[in-house]
Symmetry: C2
Subunit: 349 residues, 2 copies
């Protein structure tokens, strides 16, 4: 990292991810010259502490980005679509945590452990992938590098905080209501903007985001398309089933994958994972050691365990991948992108 | 069904499954001449109501089975191993809900919608498959019949009641403790008899039953081996990842499967499911219609939705399968076997 310090803006500072971005910037001692906390009009005026200083949240408007070097966006797709072009025009490099620009061919979609070099191609906007995509590609990349990758089938176990603080509150209210024998209200999940809402407490809901024409949800198509883009593998076979569960924070994934080269031992795969950046291997069945939400939340790494051979195909494997969806899935990956931009001298280019 | 009535015994009458067996026998108006409720010494003496009569639970001993025509066992593998030979010796036909005899080549492993005819080969014992296996084979069988089946990869979302009433209570206690900010105790899950115990509330635990030498859990191997046996397909490729979740009752499954014949439309697959015995198709994305635990519990059917084509392999499909693990997964399938035995005149043979 060079010795400069940067003017940083956080858009969506009062949200679940925005809060984690601030915590992560502080922990990582990101070189901040000035900090702007931005939000919707509704949240403007709130006060937030950062490194002992109190900041007042301001409404995000185009002029907010004058003199900003790097802006981290996590305030929803429509905010990103409206304000990122304005911020870029004013010289800010934007790291966007929404899906607004992810599939734009001029926008790098970056997980630093996988494709940091793509940052060199940025033209002002870098997209942060979907939470469930990030943790999967971090775990699969070291294996892809050694053995190649042919097919991925993932079933997710996703936490409600991925749908925002309203969803977390809804789950808590519903859980209390059920334990007290009271009626349950559902107004947020599975998708705020969809027609119907279902109980999440003590339930499993196989819908995250809206359904697409092909029967997959948008969340599932994000995992499919983003994985191919990040890995630069349009030919990679990817399928996903995304499921929301009564868990506050922390996504888990059951992943079946086929490599190009078969016959590699589980021990060798475990070694690739143990050596990989951003991965913690937790895999010892005889000690009941495997990743869980309860042991992963609050940590930046992606945790991998339950690695085993498919019993039928000698290029088939199974693994269980867990990470904090608000950290590596969002805030930490965004801050990591900002750190890479600094390291590669790509801010203000 | 013929006009006879039978002397019925329930072993494990006070347990989670035993209770559902009684409820199901009553609902189905199974032709009962006499009913014996049996249990461990510890639970003997308890009183249970059935069709308006109060029964006193007796300790299960070999002599309990004199004159019994059909005995439904759900009191753990060691009880089944000890008492089923004694019951068979005394002329009772035993339907066993434990894993004790499932892989015995002389014991039919039966899901009536799939392999009812195997009952003809019984020599006194019929095994009821594992809960997570049953709902999967009911959903896949109609597709197998039309298109053949090559490979199945399943990730499960399993409820705590599959681990018994103690596990349900543990989840409730932990949930209350977390909501009240109190410390969490874990003494039952993931496996009563294993070394370590983990929090299940607001967590996902990728271990059900003990780990085997090959890195799979026994629950996963049950799904693999039992599916092949029930479908009479030793060559079928099956892999499973079994996960326990904070859900009281109702298992969900995300299933990827490859058929022999490719290119069939989703509409045709949906029609096969809609026409199949024991299956309710719930599959309309535009109306957010898909199976969930909250809408499936308390019902005997297997609910299937989210049917879609794999985007890469033209013989690949995905589906979401939900059922009540205490009903079709246990009690209802056992009673259904008893009904089939009556129908086929195989009791007292």
């Amino acid at each position: 990292m060079n010795k400069h310090a940067y003017n940083v803006a956080i858009v969506g500072a009062t949200g679940a991810v925005g809060q984690q971005m601030l915590k992560t910037l502080e922990e990582r001692e990101f070189p901040i010259a000035s900090l702007k906390l931005l939000s919707s009009k509704r949240s403007a005026g709130k006060q937030i502490e950062f490194k002992g200083t109190t900041y007042t949240v301001e409404e995000a408007v185009p002029e907010s980005f004058a003199d900003v070097n790097v802006a981290l966006f996590s305030a929803g797709g429509s905010v990103s679509k409206a304000l990122i072009p304005e911020a870029v025009k004013r010289g800010a490099v934007c790291v966007d945590n929404t899906s607004a620009f992810r599939m734009d061919e001029n926008v790098p979609l970056v997980v630093p452990e996988v494709n940091e070099a793509d940052l060199h191609n940025h033209t002002g906007v870098i997209a942060n992938p979907n939470c469930s995509t990030i943790q999967m590609v971090v775990a699969l990349e070291p294996i892809r590098q050694e053995l190649g990758l042919k097919k991925v089938v993932v079933s997710t176990y996703q936490a409600v905080s991925g749908a925002g603080l309203d969803a977390v509150e809804e789950m808590e209210h519903q859980t209390k209501a059920i334990l007290n024998g009271e009626p349950v209200k559902a107004e947020v999940l599975p998708v705020g903007g969809d027609k119907k809402h279902y109980q999440i407490a003590f339930n499993a809901v196989p819908q995250i985001d809206l359904f697409q024409e092909n029967g997959y949800t948008f969340e599932e198509m994000k995992m499919i398309n983003e994985t191919k883009k990040i890995m630069h593998m349009p030919e990679l076979e990817v399928a996903a089933t995304c499921v929301r569960l009564p868990i506050e924070t922390g996504h888990s994934e059951s992943v079946y994958f086929e490599t190009n080269k078969g016959g590699t031992s589980v021990t060798d795969i475990q070694q690739m994972l143990a050596d990989a950046p951003g991965v913690t291997l937790q895999d010892n069945p005889s000690e009941q050691l495997y990743p869980m939400v309860t042991t992963s939340v609050g940590k930046n790494d992606v945790f991998v365990g339950r690695v085993r051979r498919d019993l039928d195909r000698d290029n088939g494997y199974h693994a269980w991948i867990v990470s904090d969806n608000l950290l590596k899935g969002a805030a930490w990956n965004s801050v990591q992108i900002a750190e890479s931009l600094v390291k590669l001298n790509l801010l203000g280019k």
